[in-house]
Assembly symmetry: C2
Homo-oligomer: 96 residues x 2
């Protein structure tokens, strides 16, 4: 089972990413796209990575925006290394 | 531009559907699946219909659940015939 990270560790991890925030025991980012198709394409790409990492984000889509929130169910809904790892993957998908 | 429907008209339309609710000027339903892949598959199928109808839902996914909320931006965020039409389409995707 993944252990919850300390707030310091989370802030440290987020410093390596762009525009992720830590609140309500989740790490979150809103991504913006040119249109709905690109937003759905992003969700689809995330879904393959989520299955591979056996870790699943909360995904919220409204037209050209996708908001991703990450926490670890098995760690009492706290943020763990699994969330940081998936955030890094999602960030790299967004930048490629 | 689509006109907002009266509450009575909305309730009447929802009576033909299953487990949709009307609140906060939206019509909403939570759909449940066997797993994450099926949930993402449902989102993908919805996305094609949304593009075809030129009308886009709010989509919220957590693992095997997908919550869809519909309202019409061009009608001041109220519920219109466009929302009812897309709800019917989404309902039919779920049942097939």
């Amino acid at each position: 089972m993944a252990e919850p990270l300390s707030t310091d560790k989370i802030e440290e991890a987020l410093a390596d990413l762009t525009n992720w925030s830590h609140e309500d025991d989740k790490i979150t980012k809103e991504f913006t796209f040119d249109n709905f198709r690109d937003a759905i394409g992003f969700i689809t790409r995330i879904s393959f990575e989520a299955e591979e990492q056996v870790h699943h984000p909360e995904i919220f889509n409204v037209y050209n925006t996708v908001t991703i929130s990450l926490s670890t169910h098995d760690a009492g809904g706290k943020v763990t290394e699994k969330d940081v790892a998936l955030a890094k993957t999602i960030e790299s998908l967004y930048n490629n």
